[in-house]
């Protein structure tokens, strides 16, 4: 197997108020996680349109994780509840399409949980790496 | 031994559907119990001792049978702990351990006498041959 060579591509959507700050805190504490994780800042986890996730998989992402404030702590009071429902629906659809459930995840990380952020990313990257490359949704026209 | 105790506690909790961790130790159950003075262990102690796994003294105590199952404690508990259901489950556990309901079908012939109605013998066979 070429497991050691293979580097997964992971897109992380982080809400500006909790998880992005949590990621910053992980950096401040020098807690390392794989460089395969690339973070996109959004105002709230509920800004993440399911289309963004589909696009990421289409473009060859191997895993997508959405991080938001803990339920009840949303800066916008209820945004993360929308995320929770939307993603439950989307993930089951993705599973139906053959994208393994482990490739997608919603995680609540507060601004104080730098360690949790790093831990989550390590675990997620490991899980995705074990699954190998995602080819199911990849649009080959996007390949150069 | 430890394991058996744990198992027994688990069984009692499942039988009664009671979560003793919800108890905030206010003692309203004991404050309301009409047979308090008859009891060695009181309703709030039942809840507490089941939670700590101290089942032996409870099961050997007469207090089990002093509970009237009037459900006053269940009605008034502010935390919905339902002590009477817990006591009922303990009672059942003791009875089951005594094995009154667990004859073997092989034991039945020895208990037969001439006056026993046929129907009783058939139903006994049905019940205990499982």
């Amino acid at each position: 197997m070429q497991m050691n060579e293979y580097k997964p591509l992971i897109v992380a959507f982080c809400c500006n108020w909790c998880s992005y700050a949590g990621a910053d805190l992980a950096g401040n504490n020098r807690l390392s996680y794989p460089a395969d994780v690339k973070i996109i800042r959004v105002p709230c986890s509920c800004r993440v349109n399911p289309m963004f996730i589909l696009r990421a998989f289409q473009k060859g992402a191997d895993g997508v994780i959405i991080c938001g404030c803990h339920p009840g702590d949303c800066h916008y009071t209820s945004g993360n509840y929308y995320t929770r429902r939307r993603m439950a629906l989307l993930f089951s659809m993705l599973e139906f399409l053959g994208i393994e459930r482990e490739r997608t995840r919603v995680e609540w990380v507060s601004a104080a949980e730098g360690a949790k952020f790093a831990e989550t990313m390590n675990d997620f990257a490991e899980t995705v790496a074990a699954l190998g490359e995602n080819k199911r949704l990849e649009d080959l026209r996007c390949k150069k | 031994m430890q394991n058996k105790k744990e198992l027994q506690k688990e069984q009692i909790l499942r039988m009664s559907g009671v979560n003793p961790r919800k108890c905030m130790r206010c003692g309203k159950c004991s404050g309301t119990c009409p047979s308090y003075d008859e009891m060695e262990y009181h309703p709030h102690q039942f809840v507490y001792m089941v939670e700590t796994g101290d089942l032996e003294p409870l099961m050997n105590s007469d207090s089990l049978y002093k509970c009237l199952s009037c459900f006053a404690c269940v009605d008034r508990c502010p935390r919905n702990v339902e002590p009477a259901k817990l006591i009922e489950a303990l009672r059942l556990t003791v009875i089951r351990e005594k094995g009154k309901n667990h004859l073997k079908s092989d034991d039945i012939p020895a208990l037969l006498d001439d006056e026993m109605p046929q129907q009783a013998i058939v139903s006994a066979m049905r019940k205990y041959s499982k």
């Binding site: 460089a35 996109i40 800042r41 959004v42 509920c46 993440v48 916008y76 | 009181h42």
Partner: protein, 664 residues
């Protein structure tokens, strides 16, 4: 096509230690739109900022990307820099290559590679950025305080003190709230009226404050700085500006058997009444439910005795609409109903009372003139049992009671016990408690004094049953420490009833689009750092409408709410966040989904005329975002089925571009 400048920061060795900054600057040079790409030791330093400014002017840049620390750190700095060079501040994007790259990765090749990708994503985004200008809205320099208890009074006084006009809306005929009904206050035992009534007079005499008593809020429109509030002034059948409050009518009214709610129905008042002697405004009110004149048209005694002619039987409810910049909610609390706690025999015996009723029984202005007498037979009680936590700290699925701790009961019970033992040393006082909770300055000392100096019997355990028998109350309770069941023959049983938010709070929250928790308490914007603001901009919280509180805490929260209001009203214009939702009217199909998901009520639907290709006009229902109210969460953008809704600064296209850049 944008002209983009890329600036890569070394941050000393913070970034340069694990990222080859020169290589990053070099690699980003050939990205679409990039005209200049450079690196520098410290971009946030004065020299670094000067460098950016010069580059913007020299290269006529339309957008910049700074690869540096977290945007939470220096986004504002670089936006100011851009603005100083004449560039729209929202044309700045930050690639976070410190916290999320150099600090978490160990080796230079990986760090550099990731930094390049993050830089590319930022460039892809800035390519699609549009200049944004924050909206401005004027501020109406007047505040509305809903509720005239101690919370509302203190808030109004503090706001008026800063020179802004304030209106208080109170449903009762007088302000004063629950505090006006209390006898003494813990832990100092000074009388409630002595400290409250001067404040009520201050409110009445302050020319910045208007009191709308016997009124309620019936409609709220608008948003922060510009609320339009309709206030319903219920008909009190007495002309408020003429009535002198002499009280002659309340003495002559023949209808004498109306339960007096101010004394919790323990005595009677007339159909025309002034709740208490120090009422503000001191104006009589006719209760239309019991007035014979209003019901049958025969009586008119009050009108005959009134020397100034203030009685007006034909008065109607009036509605007034006023503009406000800020709204403070101070709707307060009520003790819960004891109907469901039948084991305490509250409905069976008059001698089982709530703590608030005891306050009235001990109050010099109360139904007994301040002497503690049993409500049933007017005898002195000799054995008094207090029951704590009645309806507080119940299980969430219990039908009766509340899940939370009501916070004030432990202290007022200690106060009552102490006062009774002080005044009537021959009384036996028992307090049944689960826990005694006394956090607060001088609070535990106070409770210990009740036990040690006044000899109040504190018993750990709960009362299980109270049964009235032969003029006595048989109290059966457990003593958990002694392991005994107690049977006490009591003369009076006092229940420390849980408190709940006022019933008017829920409809009010709907009108204000302010959020509430499951217990109907208003939620604060942040439980620790923004405790007096509602998540809805321009709505502030004061007192027990936000959670159980005692008087000192209520007053400090009232002051805090007032200072937030003053800070808002001081501004001439409000600058909004320009990253707000925006609806493309041509694409909107008028489905209302966005309106439903918006937590702020920022989206409204309007009928708008559109010109069709064949030169006819057609009216369509389209969404409109109020930019002053929108906080920019983006929930609506995802809910929108037609793709009409987008979030400025985080548009769908921009995020797609970022995803594409990362997944290349």
């Amino acid at each position: 096509m944008q002209r983009i400048g890329v600036f890569v920061c070394h941050c000393g060795t913070n970034i340069a230690g694990t990222v080859d900054v020169k290589a990053v600057a070099e690699a980003l040079k050939f990205e679409p739109g990039v005209v200049v790409s450079t690196d520098y030791q410290y971009m946030c330093s004065q020299a670094g900022q000067e460098m950016i400014k010069e580059a913007i002017i020299e290269n006529k840049l339309t957008g910049i990307v700074v690869c540096s620390c977290s945007p939470r750190m220096h986004e504002a700095t670089f936006r100011k820099t851009a603005a100083a060079a004449g560039l729209n501040p929202y044309m700045v994007e930050i690639a976070n290559i410190r916290e999320q790259c150099s600090w978490v990765h160990k080796d230079i090749p990986t760090g550099t590679e990731k930094a390049i990708i993050l830089g590319k994503a930022a460039i892809a985004k800035v390519n699609l950025n549009a200049p944004l200008t924050p909206g401005e809205s004027p501020v109406t320099k007047r505040a509305l305080v809903i509720g005239g208890g101690i919370a509302g009074i203190q808030t109004a006084l503090d706001i008026a003190d800063a020179g802004f006009p304030v209106d208080i809306v109170e449903t009762k005929p007088t302000i004063g709230g629950k505090m006006a009904q209390l006898d003494k206050t813990f832990p100092t035992l000074d009388c409630a009226a002595c400290i409250l009534t001067p404040k009520m007079v201050d409110v009445a005499t302050n020319d910045k404050i208007r009191i709308f008593s016997y009124s309620e809020v019936s409609e709220v429109n608008g948003f922060v700085g510009n609320f339009d509030v309709t206030i319903k002034r219920r008909a009190r059948y007495v002309k408020e500006d003429i009535c002198t409050g002499c009280g002659l009518c309340t003495e002559k009214c023949p209808q004498k058997k109306v339960p007096n709610e101010f004394n919790l129905n323990m005595d009677n008042r007339r159909a025309i009444y002034i709740p208490f002697a120090q009422a503000v405004p001191k104006v009589a009110t006719i209760d239309p439910e019991s007035c014979t004149m209003l019901k049958t048209g025969k009586c008119g005694v009050c009108s005959k005795v009134c020397t100034v002619g203030a009685i007006d039987y034909n008065a109607k409810d009036e509605f007034i609409t006023e503009k406000y910049g800020a709204i403070v909610v101070a709707t307060g609390f009520n003790p819960i109903s004891m109907d469901k706690f039948d084991e305490y025999a509250y409905s069976q015996s008059k001698d089982v009372i709530t703590s608030l009723e005891l306050e009235r029984l001990m109050n010099a202005a109360g139904p007994t003139g301040g002497t503690l007498l049993r409500p049933s037979d007017g005898e002195h009680p000799h054995t008094i049992v207090f029951v704590q936590c009645v309806g507080s700290r119940c299980d969430s699925c219990a039908e009766k009671g509340k899940e939370y701790c009501s916070k004030i009961c432990c202290m007022y019970t200690a106060k009552h016990a102490m006062l009774i033992r002080d005044k009537y040393p021959d009384t036996d006082v028992y307090v049944f408690y689960i826990d005694v909770r006394t956090p607060g300055k001088n609070f535990d000392e106070f409770y210990r004094r009740a036990v040690e100096e006044y000899g109040v019997h504190y018993i750990k355990g709960m009362v299980g049953k109270v049964s009235p028998e032969g003029g006595k109350l048989k109290v059966r309770a457990s003593d958990l420490i002694d392991g005994k069941q107690l049977n006490i023959d009591a003369d009076l049983v006092v229940l420390a009833a849980a408190i709940e938010p006022d019933k008017s709070a829920r409809p009010l929250a709907t009108m204000l689009t302010a959020s509430m928790d499951t217990n109907d308490f208003f939620t604060e914007a942040h439980p620790k750092l923004r405790p007096v603001e509602s998540p809805t901009a321009g709505v502030y919280l004061s007192g027990t409408c936000q959670g159980p509180k005692d008087i000192p805490e209520t007053v400090s929260q009232a002051g805090a709410a007032a200072s937030m209001v003053i800070a808002l009203l001081c501004k001439d214009k409000l600058t909004g966040n320009p990253c707000v939702a925006h609806s493309d009217e041509m694409m909107c199909n008028g489905c209302s989904t966005c309106e439903k998901v918006c937590p702020y009520g920022a989206i409204t639907y309007i009928d708008k005329e559109f010109r069709m290709p064949d030169r006819t006009t057609k009216v369509r229902r389209v969404a409109q975002v109020n930019e002053a109210v929108c906080q920019g969460c983006g929930a609506c953008t995802v809910a929108c089925m037609s793709g009409a809704m987008d979030l400025k600064g985080f548009t769908n296209k921009q995020i797609f571009a970022e995803v594409d850049a990362i997944c290349k």
